[in-house]
């Protein structure tokens, strides 16, 4: 019979088949017989299909299930042990990962003795195409020759179709476990991690991205050297990029460490490794994963990795607060472009964390820059540190003042921004050249003139900061100009205000510091009056003004009034701010005054209280604590001659100040001076002279040539030499000290008298009796008129004079 067209024939076949399978046996046979007569070909085919239909024992299901089993069934690692894979004999399983099981193996042909690691990839995980690509890339991966990267040696497919990879065997522990076991410190962990970065960097330079970085792939040997496994394997085995199926590798392998772009199937770059390194670093530092996946469902993991902000590492480990936190968070940024552009940059930032330098991973807030600037210059440019400290302190005051006065936030921001650009310009790490802080300040001063003319509120705040910074550097003229301008601006802008009071107090402090305390009293009293009117007599700000006034009076030598002012400050702060730095300072000031007056026991008790208050206010290292330690030390020595306790306190204070400010900072210099003074009195002249010389190193840089401290240290130096029996060597520094004091202090200041007495002693010891006598007399008289006859200082001067008169 003539066949119909193919589609028609197929349709008829289908219809006949459907009819036949539903018909009873007899009917079907009749149907087939009829058809065989008319269309034997069609009948034969129908008969075949019906036979197949009857024979069908669920073969499709079985084929599918069998294939699925083959793809999906995990292979027991133990079943591989002892088997040969290529030329390698598998000795024992040593690991089990997402990609497959890893075995320790050795070359069965004994060509090499060395053992290797053989990773048996899960069959079915990788398509034939990807395996082919892997074989193609094997060469490139094998050439990745770096001590931090486990070498890929070989790869292939077993006769029964299981793909495998042969790698250098690394005997090590996952980096997080290693750090945990060894109890590595934060610095050690960062250093170890930087070594990992270096290996990753090396691969990146060879255009190979790891794409599956996780602790299990970052082993650390017993020698503490990291080795990275599986470099580039995920990529090589990944799907063909052309199909857009780029995310198979990681999503299949390690979703916990996969980056958002990997999860979204977006292009994978070196930034992907930066992200995974961030996760590894997070684990290394905190022992925790950045995210929690409560249910472990795919959709949850994806949502969390792509959207949720991880907890900052410091939440788990407080010591990470600050830079390390920021570095980790930058590496973990959702958008690849917001992460470190290279692993090198990540590593560099970690180096900076370790070195206390500013990191790039941080919003550039002014306070941050300043604090980094300060810490960076700890051991280096002292002047910079001083300036930065002053800038920072000044800014904090400016900004809080701005808040108090309800300055709109925009203004505070502009102040901040302006200062930020100044510090930015000064950053040595930006252009690599050293810029002195004075240059920075001078540049800033010019910019204030040029840029802030029409913003008086901002100009006032900036000038006050600049003024305090210059003052901190001992550049008093420049400081005064800025402070006076700031004062004038604040007066005209705000009239009687906290800002005006603060400028007045800054001026008082400046005049006191430059040794012109007589010019400091008026501004200090005006500030006090303003603050009392504005806040009442019991306010902490008023205590601050009393404190400032007390310092002025003390510097003027008016110890009675100084004590009264300081007692007032203490009384107010005890109520208004019992755990404040202000109270600690007030107690210290009062103690110093009482000590100077000779009431040493009362002084020591106050110093102890000051230290307790400071520690309550700042449990960690802090300038106020260092100050309290330093002053208590001198008090302990003055009162009880307890050299052991005093020395211990001085060492603590010195270490803390060096740590906080660096050498050469005036505060460090003060501690050096006081410590040296104690040692001199104790009779340890050599050590004392050594410390005195250290203190004098800042002269002309951080300490102005004629700073009162310089004179005191010179005098101390002279006394050490006297103590060592070298009156000739003592004469020069004593003379210079006296000259400085005469030039810079009021003529009746007791320090002049004290210097005179000491110079007289050195002259007498050299036999220069004619010159010595008037010095000894003037010194004694001067001290007695200030302190009365009971003070130790006076007694000392009297003894010198007596020895001279008795011919000694």
């Amino acid at each position: 019979m003539a066949d119909a067209s193919a589609p028609d024939r197929w349709r008829r076949l289908k219809d006949l088949f459907a009819e036949a399978i539903e018909a009873p046996e007899a009917e079907r046979l009749a149907m087939l017989a009829r058809l065989a007569a008319e269309e034997p070909g069609l009948a034969a085919e129908l008969e075949e299909l019906l036979a197949a239909h009857r024979a069908d024992g669920g073969f499709v299901e079985r084929i599918v299930a069998g294939a699925a089993q083959d793809v999906l069934r995990p292979r027991e690692p133990s079943s591989w042990t002892g088997r040969r894979v290529g030329p390698y004999e598998l000795l024992r399983p040593i690991g089990e990962g997402g990609m497959g099981a890893v075995f320790l193996a050795r070359r069965a042909d004994a060509e090499y003795e060395a053992t290797v690691a053989v990773k048996m990839l899960r069959p079915g995980l990788f398509s034939e195409d990807s395996l082919r690509r892997f074989r193609a890339e094997r060469q490139a991966l094998a050439s990745l020759n770096h001590p931090g990267i486990a070498r890929l040696l070989d790869g292939g497919t077993t006769p029964d179709g299981s793909p495998y990879i042969v790698m250098e065997h690394v005997d090590g522990k996952p980096i997080d476990a290693y750090a945990q076991e060894r109890g590595l410190t934060l610095a050690q962990r960062l250093a170890l991690f930087r070594a990992v970065c270096e290996a990753v960097q090396f691969a990146h330079r060879n255009l190979i991205v790891h794409r599956d970085l996780k602790p299990a792939n970052v082993l650390v040997t017993a020698e503490g050297e990291p080795r990275l496994l599986d470099f580039g394997i995920a990529k090589a085995l990944d799907e063909d990029a052309a199909t857009g199926l780029t995310r198979a590798g990681e999503r299949v392998l390690t979703p916990d460490y996969a980056s958002p772009e990997q999860i979204r199937g977006e292009p994978v770059t070196t930034a992907t490794d930066v992200y995974s390194l961030g996760v590894v670093l997070y684990r290394l530092l905190t022992g925790k994963h950045p995210y929690a996946f409560p249910s472990g469902r795919t959709s949850e993991i994806e949502r969390i990795v792509c959207e949720a902000e991880p907890d900052r590492p410091s939440l788990h480990a407080g010591e990470l607060r600050g830079d390390v936190d920021n570095v980790v968070m930058k590496a973990l940024a959702k958008e690849p472009e917001r992460r470190y552009a290279t692993v090198e940059q990540l590593s560099e930032d970690l180096r900076r964390c370790l070195a206390g330098e500013p990191v790039s991973a941080r919003k550039s807030t002014f306070g941050y820059r300043a604090s980094r600037f300060l810490r960076r210059h700890r051991a280096g440019s002292i002047a910079a540190a001083v300036a930065a400290a002053a800038l920072l302190a000044g800014l904090a005051v400016s900004l809080s003042a701005a808040r108090t006065a309800r300055l709109e936030a925009r203004k505070a921001e502009r102040v901040n921004a302006f200062l930020q650009t100044i510090l930015g310009a000064a950053s040595p790490w930006r252009d690599g050249s050293k810029v002195t802080v004075k240059e920075v300040l001078d540049r800033a001063s010019r910019r204030v003139d040029a840029e802030l003319v029409d913003q008086p509120a901002v100009e006032a705040a900036v000038r006050r900061t600049l003024g305090e910074t210059y003052a901190g550097l001992g550049l008093y003229d420049a400081a005064e100009a800025h402070l006076r301008r700031a004062l004038a601006l604040n007066r005209s802008l705000r009239g009687e205000s906290d800002e005006v009071a603060e400028c007045l107090m800054a001026l008082a402090a400046l005049e006191t510091a430059r040794g012109a305390a007589e010019r400091a009293e008026a501004p200090a009293r005006e500030a006090l009056a303003i603050l009392e009117r504005r806040h009442g007599e019991r306010d902490a700000s008023v205590a601050g003004a009393w404190r400032q006034l007390g310092s002025v009076l003390q510097a003027r030598g008016d110890l009675v009034q100084a004590e009264a002012a300081q007692r007032r400050a203490v009384a107010i702060d005890r109520e208004a701010a019992p755990a404040s730095a202000g109270l600690a300072e007030a107690l210290n000031d009062l103690a110093v005054t009482l000590g100077t007056k000779g009431d040493l026991r009362a002084a020591e008790a106050l110093h102890r209280e000051a230290l307790a208050v400071a520690r309550r206010a700042h449990p960690g290292p802090h300038p106020d604590v260092a100050e309290a330690l330093s002053t208590l030390a001198s008090s302990v020595w003055d009162t009880r001659r307890d050299a052991a306790e005093a020395q211990s306190l001085y060492e603590q204070a010195l270490a803390m100040r060096r740590d906080l400010f660096g050498d050469g900072h005036p505060d460090t210099t003060w501690t050096l001076y006081n410590y040296a003074y104690m040692l001199m009195e104790k009779g340890d002249f050599e050590r004392s002279e050594d410390l005195a010389r250290q203190a004098l190193r800042g002269r002309g840089t951080t300490l102005p040539e004629e700073h009162p401290m310089v004179a005191s240290t010179l005098v101390l130096l002279g006394r050490c030499r006297m103590g060592r029996g070298d009156p000739a060597g003592a004469e020069e520094p004593l003379r210079e000290g006296l000259a400085l004091r005469r030039r810079n202090l009021p003529p009746d200041h007791w320090l002049i008298a004290s210097s005179e007495s000491q110079l007289g002693e050195s002259l007498a010891a050299q036999g220069k009796r004619a010159e010595a006598e008037p010095m000894l007399v003037a010194g004694y008289e001067g001290l007695k008129s200030r302190f009365g006859s009971d003070s130790p200082r006076v007694r000392e001067a009297a003894e010198r004079l007596q020895r001279f008169r008795s011919g000694g």
């Binding site: 024979a55 073969f59 499709v60 398509s127 034939e128």
Partner: protein
Amino acid sequence: MAEEPPAGGATERGRSGLDALVPEIYQELRRLAARAMSGERESHTLQTTALVHEAYLELSRIHELSVESRPRFLALAAEVMRRILVDHARARRAAKRGGGAVRVTLSDSLADPEATHDLVALDEALTRLAEQDAQLVRVVEMRFLAGMSVEETGEALGVSPTTVKRDSAMARAWLLRELTDGRRVGA
């Protein structure tokens, strides 16, 4: 509320809307397969149908697929599942040849399940069947790879359940005959 055009049904438009998801379905299935392998899952997920349904649950959530699109999605997933299995089987077969092993041939006995384990052969047969009648192939994929019910399959294809049943039987018979190529069964 403006909504996306319905993705379900057998219209070309509906199909093309979901087609964009094929790469994702592929990834999801591979990932689920890997997870099943790494022992994170109970053994019941070692079945393609379970994987396909799980993939649907995940991706429908991510893409906020409408309920109507489910049959069409599962149909696509079934196609993708077939590709994954075949890729794997081909890799194994190539390896066996490369490794010098004798290729396993179909047994004469149709009753022996081992005889029909050759997924590659099934795939090739399906490809030939598609030239004849693409709908039958899709019925097979949906019913046996995605584990879709007769009703769902009918819905996805826009045909009645009766047609699905008939097509399914026809396809199976035709495929079995193909796989036992040349051997006349029961004749």
